[in-house]
């Protein structure tokens, strides 16, 4: 576990943090600690020789508008985002999900970047961000010592449970959420008996634009905990794209979403039940949108 750590760093600048990541042997990144600590205790982390605490790096927790995107710094805590006026106005779907995230104590410490890099298929912020067409910004140090960034659609960021396309020498620095115009529809649902403190059995996030004729455009239906990563239900989206919602279409799209899901049996639920939930809850969500 942590016995392998030979060096502890808590830099205050991004350049220092990236330099640490670039050294041979790499670094284990610590931010809020709400995932790293239990994983280390359970022996599920092979700690690198450097423990890199990035929580003190300046400039990584801001929430701001940049052109037509909402930019959220990786170190923004979930509690901060829950109450941030910009986030509430521009990405209420994310706020909805955070409202169902763990507990107040964990929200006060957990960072958005940490939740994304942990890449749990059931991660609560992942599903809504996927539905919002979010991008991640990854920074690295170039050979001449300057900082370069690249952007990846969130849909391309997750590879498998716990694995992302972040290279070992890169740091996730920000999440960019495209701003939507008027007519935006957004819904989030997390299945379970508790409002929070629960790993999702499944979660569903829906985002779309509705035009004056009531037709849906840019439909995004994201599902959590039904595949190795959060996924978009593309066939369901295609069924809905450009159409007016009614009960029959809702049922059809919900069935398509259920068919596209590839859940597993685990200690929380069986695959069969998860598919039933996707079907029923997607249909209910779409019915709710129809009546809204």
């Amino acid at each position: 576990m942590m016995n392998a750590v030979e060096r502890y760093l808590a830099p205050t600048t991004l350049a220092q943090a990236l330099a640490a990541l670039a050294t041979p042997g790499g670094a284990t990144v610590l931010a809020g600690g709400t995932d790293l600590m239990p994983q280390a205790n359970a022996g599920r982390v092979k700690a690198a020789s450097t423990l890199l605490n990035i929580r003190r790096v300046q400039g990584l927790s801001a929430v701001a508008l940049d052109g037509n995107a909402l930019v959220i710094g990786t170190l923004a805590t979930l509690a901060t985002l829950q109450h941030d006026a910009l986030v509430r106005a521009q990405a209420p779907l994310l706020v909805d999900a955070i409202d169902h995230f763990a507990s107040d104590q964990i929200r006060n410490a957990a960072t958005l970047g940490g939740n994304l890099c942990n890449a749990s298929p059931a991660g609560d912020t992942l599903t809504p961000l996927l539905a919002l067409d979010a991008q991640v910004e990854l920074a690295r140090l170039t050979d001449d010592g300057s900082i370069a960034t690249r952007r990846l659609p969130l849909a391309d960021f997750f590879i498998a449970p716990g694995r992302t396309r972040r290279e070992p020498h890169e740091l996730l620095t920000a999440v960019r959420v495209p701003l939507r115009g008027t007519g935006q529809i957004a819904r989030f649902h997390k299945a379970g008996t508790r409002p929070a403190l629960d790993i999702s059995t499944i979660s569903i996030a829906l985002a779309a634009q509705r035009d004056d004729q009531g037709c849906l455009h840019d439909v995004r239906l994201a599902l959590g905990a039904v595949a190795p990563t959060p996924v978009r239900a593309h066939r369901a989206e295609a069924l809905l794209e450009g159409r007016r919602l009614d009960a029959a279409l809702a049922a059809q799209a919900a069935q398509a979403a259920a068919d596209e899901a590839t859940p597993i049996d685990d200690v929380r639920a069986t695959a069969w039940y998860r598919r039933e939930l996707v079907n029923n809850l997607t249909r209910r969500m779409l019915d709710d949108v129809t009546q809204a």
């Binding site: 299945a191 008996t193 508790r194 790993i199 639920a269 029923n280 809850l281």
Partner: protein, 805 residues
């Protein structure tokens, strides 16, 4: 007198008041020192290596590397303690396993080291070589020909001492089958009962593993002094039984064992047996000559603690067309796990429910507890009654529906009245059963809603509401299962009117110290601030059998009252001549000796006590009292008036079922509890609310997943306790049936509120959906499967062969 009338308390009386718990201020400020917070100078930390196999022979244990780790003082295996004795209810449980492991919690080795981190690191250096044996993971397979035998070898039970508890069957050493225990009960003639029935229903039920989840994990500190006396800091609920058992186990004089009980982080019955970790800590203390402290971590708490007894149950019930119950015939199969703990004795309590919850003329009950390689069950709040009531109350609804009778009326027709004697010989001297049913039903609008929700079952909409009722019977005045069911009190009044109440009764968070003080203050006319309670040191406190069977308020309460009355009598005897009147003319009120008739204060109690002390008579007021309840031991047929009082409750549970997901939300619980008399209103409400939510967890969310002997969810992430946003609205009424023997009329209530929640919830789900689910818990997936007809039914319990005469 109607039981619903609350007798008016005399002005200034403490009875029925809301009295804050005496230790609450310390607990709320973080000052209370639990066992986890106690450190003795020079102490070592212990950790236990548990089996990584479910069932295996131990071929080799190599502790060389562990012993060599810096900071390690001792590493013990069975080979190092050849004198170790088997422990537990059936003496089939060696603390350190010698030749074989039978479950994943089996203790193989133990380390004492300078720090807990070093101790746990040493565990990783211990090499164990196993030879796997076939795993027996299903109780149904335990008696099949060729089933692996879990205890084929003689396990040290001394045939000369057949049992510590009279009338209780024990497992025999060396038996060629997996039967750990059996019980057979009969009253009346069920064949006759069935012949008289117009309706007969039979169903099988499956009750699952849950675990106590006390917020404070288990721990112990053991220390020998220079003369070889043993001091244990222990969270046991039965200190005096513990003391005697430890003495037997370590072949010591019991007088040389002292148990100190730090404040406990929850009990709920988990601390009624002796567990290997305690014995092992003593061995380590002996081996190292240092105090040894052992604490579980939460995962170990899940893995190694006793569970609630899982039960497979087949119930056959009958009634006449007019609603009269005729018979119950029950058989249950209990997964005993690898070793026998209190779970195996739950039939004692279950038969009380089968035989006596409602008037049943004919009843038989046969049960087997069989060994498997699963975790063993212990005692857990309700002690089998949740499981039994779940089945009995399902059939009450089913039979009512079969004869077209209102479910409440059906219950009221069969609910016993004061003075009745049940088929098992329990005498219902005070009985608020009918009033409980009426009160819960009226306050919840049960009849109206039950009809309305049933009518809505097939209406459009995924959300269905339902309402269900269930009741329970439990002992409320102790349970005479040990040679004595008594409790001792020593009372001391000092020169300042301050009382030291020394009681054998342990405080496990239920508020006993506050209730006992309240009863003493009521007798002595003193304020609550006048009492200090000492209840946690076996060198000081008099004997009490322990905190179980909801007995403490009743028995320790009567004991405290007895001592207080002796003190009061002593004061009056000395005061009467001084004030030229008879002792009967005096009373104690508001810290004074007063004239009983007029209330005229004569002298301050404290002043009088000083005058008694500093006089030619030189007398202190110190009294003792041992209260043994007037209950009897059951005979060999388990018949007898085993408790001094019995308690009832009825609960109505209202739910909302989301048929799209199977999620059941518990909206409201309306309860009516026959408690005899409310003593501390604040305390009793807290007990009931806590019990209801524990019952909610049992019904809806808690499930210890045991598969092939492994516990799959040993953590709070996947073992779901109820959280604050999930609790129902709770409306509780108290039926004060004023028990003649109970302290101020009170009866025990600790276990009652958890007992019939699951049963009422099952009836509510049926009301909402028309689907009856006979296995727990009602998780969303289970309910969803049931609603869609894809939940496999519970297979019947195989017939239990009658024991040869």
């Amino acid at each position: 007198m109607s039981a619903l009338l609350t007798p008016p308390a005399a002005s200034g009386s403490l009875i029925g008041q809301r009295i804050p718990k005496m230790d609450a201020p310390d607990k709320a400020s973080g000052r209370t020192r639990y066992i986890h917070d106690i450190d003795l100078p020079g102490q070592l930390h212990a950790a236990i290596l548990r089996s990584s196999r479910v069932h295996a022979r131990i071929l080799r244990i190599d502790t060389t590397a562990a012993r060599a780790l810096p900071g390690v003082h001792a590493v013990l295996t069975a080979a190092d303690v050849p004198d170790q004795q088997p422990i537990g209810v059936a003496k089939d449980h060696l603390p350190l396993k010698r030749d074989r492991v039978r479950s994943v919690r089996d203790e193989i080795a133990a380390v004492a080291a300078e720090t807990e981190a070093i101790a746990r690191q040493a565990l990783t250096l211990i090499e164990v070589e196993y030879e796997d044996l076939p795993v027996l993971a299903d109780a149904r397979d335990a008696l099949a020909p060729g089933a692996p035998l879990i205890h084929p070898e003689p396990h040290g039970a001394d045939p000369a001492k057949p049992g510590l508890k009279p009338g209780m069957p024990i497992a025999f050493a060396g038996k060629p089958d997996n039967i750990a225990m059996r019980f057979d009960y009969t009253h009346g003639d069920v064949a006759q009962g069935e012949a008289e029935s117009d309706v007969v229903v039979e169903d099988s039920f499956s009750l699952h593993y849950v675990t106590h989840c006390c917020m404070g994990v288990s721990g112990v500190i053991a220390e020998f002094d220079a003369r070889g006396n043993l001091l244990l800091y222990s969270n046991t609920q039965v200190p005096f039984l513990h003391k005697r058992e430890f003495a037997e186990i370590f072949r010591m004089d019991p007088g040389r064992i002292r148990i100190i009980q730090p404040p406990i982080g929850g009990g709920f019955g988990s601390k009624l047996d002796i567990y290997p970790f305690e014995i092992i800590s003593v061995y380590l203390a002996r081996a190292t000559g240092r105090p040894v402290k052992l604490l579980f971590n939460r995962e170990e708490e899940f893995l190694a603690s006793p569970t609630r007894q899982p039960v497979l149950l087949t119930l056959r019930s009958g009634c006449k067309r007019d609603g009269t119950l005729t018979f119950r015939s029950v058989r249950t199969l209990h997964d005993n796990g690898a070793y026998t703990s209190w779970g195996a004795t739950t039939p004692f309590v279950m038969m009380q429910t089968f035989s006596s919850l409602y008037r049943v003329p004919h009843c038989d009950y046969h049960t087997l507890a069989v060994y498997t390689n699963n975790p063993y069950a212990g005692s857990f709040r309700g002690y089998g009654n949740l499981q039994a009531t779940f089945a009995v109350e399902a059939h009450m609804d089913q039979m009512a529906e079969a004869i077209g009778m209102d479910p409440l009326a059906f219950r009221q027709k069969n609910a016993q009245l004061q003075g009745e004697v049940s088929g098992q010989g329990m005498v219902f001297r005070s009985c608020g059963f009918q009033d409980c049913l009426t009160s819960a039903a009226e306050r919840s609008d049960f009849a109206h809603r039950h009809a309305e929700y049933a009518a809505q079952r097939n209406a459009p909409g995924a959300i269905k509401k339902g309402i269900g009722i269930a009741s329970m019977l439990h002992v409320g005045g102790g349970a005479k299962i040990y040679p004595s069911d008594g409790c001792g009190t020593i009372l001391k009044l000092d020169d300042f009117g301050h009382v030291t109440l020394i009681t054998g009764a342990s405080e496990i968070g239920q508020g006993s110290e506050t209730v006992l003080s309240q009863l003493v203050c009521e007798e002595l006319g003193l304020p609550m601030s006048a009492v200090t309670v000492v209840n946690n040191d076996t060198d000081i406190t008099p004997w009490d059998v322990g905190v179980h069977a909801s007995r403490t308020t009743f028995i320790a309460g009567n004991s405290a009252i007895g001592a207080a009355r002796k003190a009061r009598d002593k004061i009056f005897a000395a005061a009467a001549p001084r004030f030229d009147c008879a002792a009967d003319d005096l009373a104690l009120r508001d810290g004074h000796i007063v004239r009983r008739a007029s209330g005229e204060p004569l002298i301050e109690i404290a002043r009088f006590l000083r005058s008694l002390h500093f006089s030619d008579r030189a007398e202190l007021v110190m009294t003792t009292f041992y209260y043994e309840p007037p209950s009897v031991h059951q005979d060999k047929g388990f018949k007898g008036d085993v408790s001094a009082a019995y308690a009832w409750a009825a609960q109505v549970v209202e739910v909302e079922v989301d048929t799209d997901t199977g999620v059941v939300r518990m909206l409201k619980v309306t309860g009516a509890h026959d408690v005899g008399r409310v003593l501390n209103r604040l305390g009793i409400e807290g007990q009931i609310e806590g019990g209801i939510v524990m019952g909610q967890g049992y019904a809806l969310t808690e499930n210890l997943l045991v598969e092939n002997g492994n516990i799959r969810n040993p953590n709070f992430r996947d073992y779901k306790l109820v959280t604050a946003p999930e609790i129902p609205e709770m409306d509780i009424a108290f039926i004060e049936s004023m028990d003649g023997e109970g302290p101020q009329g009170a009866k025990g209530v600790g276990e009652a509120p958890a007992i019939c929640i699951a049963a009422a919830t099952a009836n509510a789900i049926y009301n909402a959906t028309g689907v009856r689910i006979t296995s727990l818990p009602f998780t969303p997936e289970r309910v969803y499967r049931a609603l869609h007809g894809v939940l496999p039914p519970v297979p019947p319990v195989p017939p239990i062969v009658e024991r040869p005469a």
